[in-house]
């Protein structure tokens, strides 16, 4: 989620209470002699930063915070035994591994250090990087507590966004468009399947009875607030990603006023070859990566300049001083495309 979230309501982790509770319980169990390492897994802009900030706020003096900013080499891995704090919080652990021959050595060394240490490691991971490492290296075996931040449903998202403003500050402009189909909304249910260790999120259709009732004869009609329609649209475009939803909200908000027409969706037509899909998967998994790291992953066979040019030209990737990342509004379409073409497993 956006780093600068300022919650007026006083609850900085709206929608993530359950996850925070699980982390607090795992920290509480630490010290019993059984390893309690924690992995926090979320999609880009999925709410990881919010959780990390709250952990640091609550356990400040006990936590050594170590954010990774770029791909590191084995020699740059710190000596964890020399850190005085009991809890080591390592942010952006995706930078511990790169998808190339020899690219797992740092991660191997880190995991070895982690299981040899008596400290508690709290690590944060990009969901797609985690999925890859989980399939390839069975990394989930190293973490007894895995917190997966799922997609957010509209009522929670509404709370998150409105908590950033004073009550009554926002004016919702009704242009008569609220009549449109709101019979159902897409939510993401957390399901625990038998024979599967982790919970999974499945898209679920929730029928909107209040809107259905609105179609009844005039006397029986129930008013649907324009707020709900607006937040439903924002969440549909953001595909349940709170960070993307907040950015969409901010870009649609004009002088504390928002209307349905102001919320626009950027259309993407994605057509990529194998090399382009592969590099896009790497950029998505790493959130942001420098061109020289991408060139090392691509190898000599691939013309990385051409691939990056094609991705930037289609608006799927942006170049910020040599660092490439997927723009927030392209995240949803890119993830859907890469899942469809089996780049994300």
């Amino acid at each position: 989620m956006a780093d600068d979230q300022t919650a007026v309501s006083g609850n900085p982790v709206i929608g993530l209470e359950k996850e925070l509770q699980q982390i607090t319980e795992a920290i509480g169990r630490f010290g019993s002699g059984v390893p309690e390492h924690i992995a926090i897994v979320a999609e880009p802009l999925g709410g990881r930063t919010t959780l990390v900030s709250e952990i640091r706020r609550r356990h400040g003096e006990k936590v050594h915070y170590l954010p990774l900013e770029f791909v590191i080499s084995p020699s740059h891995l710190p000596d964890f035994s020399s850190i005085p704090e009991e809890i080591i919080l390592i942010d952006n652990c995706r930078f511990l591994a790169t998808r190339m021959i020899g690219g797992f050595d740092v991660l191997d060394a880190f995991l070895h250090a982690q299981i040899s240490s008596k400290k508690l490691f709290i690590t944060t991971w990009n969901a797609f990087s985690w999925q890859y490492l989980s399939a390839v290296m069975n990394i989930d075996a190293y973490f007894p507590t895995i917190i997966t931040i799922g997609r957010m449903d509209t009522p929670v998202l509404k709370q998150v966004i409105l908590s950033r403003h004073r009550p009554g500050e926002i004016r919702f402009l009704d242009e008569g468009a609220a009549e449109r189909s709101m019979f159902y909304s897409l939510i993401h249910k957390k399901v625990h399947l038998p024979l599967m260790a982790n919970e999974i999120f499945i898209p679920w259709i929730k029928l909107n009875f209040t809107v259905m009732l609105r179609r009844l004869p005039r006397k029986k009609r129930i008013q649907v607030s324009i707020e709900d329609v607006i937040f439903e649209k924002i969440n549909r475009i953001a595909r349940g990603n709170p960070g993307v939803a907040i950015l969409l909200w901010e870009s649609s908000l004009k002088e504390h006023t928002i209307s349905l027409a102001a919320i626009t969706e950027t259309p993407y037509t994605i057509d990529l070859d194998t090399n382009e899909s592969f590099i896009l998967t790497i950029i998505l998994s790493m959130k942001s990566l420098h061109e020289k790291d991408l060139a090392a992953i691509a190898g000599s066979e691939m013309n990385i300049r051409r691939v990056l040019y094609r991705l930037v030209q289609q608006g799927l990737v942006r170049d910020e001083a040599g660092y490439y990342s997927v723009p927030p509004f392209a995240l949803g379409p890119v993830i859907e495309y890469l899942k469809k073409t089996r780049r994300l497993w």
């Binding site: 998808r99 021959i101 797992f104 194998t274 469809k340 089996r342 497993w345």
Partner: protein, 286 residues
Amino acid sequence: MADALLSNVTAELPIRTIDANLILYIIFIIVVAYVLTWLLSFILVHVSERIGWYRTSVTMIIPLLKLLVYLVALYYIIIAVIEPSLTQMIAFSGLFGAAIGFGLKDLFADIVGGIVIIFEKPYQIGDKVTIGDRYGEVKDIGIRATRIQTPADETVSVPNFTIFAQPVTSGNTGDLAMMIVIDLYIHPDSDAEKAMKILKEALVTSKYVIISKRYPYTVLLEDFPFYQRVRAKGYVNDLRLEFEFKSEVTRRAWAEFRKAGIRPPSFVPPAGQISGASEDPDAELL
């Protein structure tokens, strides 16, 4: 007596007068059936190419739809020519059977083979198969023959009857992913452990690979008299890219092997000169 029965049956068979209109009608039905099957194939193949993960699930219904269209067309042709009763149908089937026995045996064996393929599914459209000594991707399952596109881009028509006579191997059985075996041969003095690590990493970092619990991978080492074989088994995410996958992993692994001082085997005597080696089919590959 049989003659009398047959004459009774044929005498009552209300065969319509064969005129230009009837012939045109039959031709029209055949053309419509052909166009319809072509159109269905075209649309479904087009849809399957866009659908990604479930490509083969869509293409598998094409042969069934084709069979359905041809059966309906046959029904319309029969009722256009005659209006048969049950007795007449039995007599007609007898004559039909005799015709098959004499001249159209192979054709009907192929059609029956086609029906068996549709229902038993030894392979589906989109699969990579070996039928007899032919290997390639199944592009179409017709009523008479199956068309296979070989790696050299040749289209081979294999009569459907072949499935009764020869074994059929499907590399993926309806799935889009397919297991690929990649063998690299190294000098016996080379560091085999390092070679296994490099090949494993070349496999898992490939842009063509898919790995999950359903699609696992493994790297194996086997010792031979004059070389060691490092074998990687993994799934390519789209079977159309099997050769690219194999080539990419091999190329990248060998580039790293050289950097790590891992050498290829220097000399292998002809298979016949090594006792015991002649039983090993892999020795002939070198």
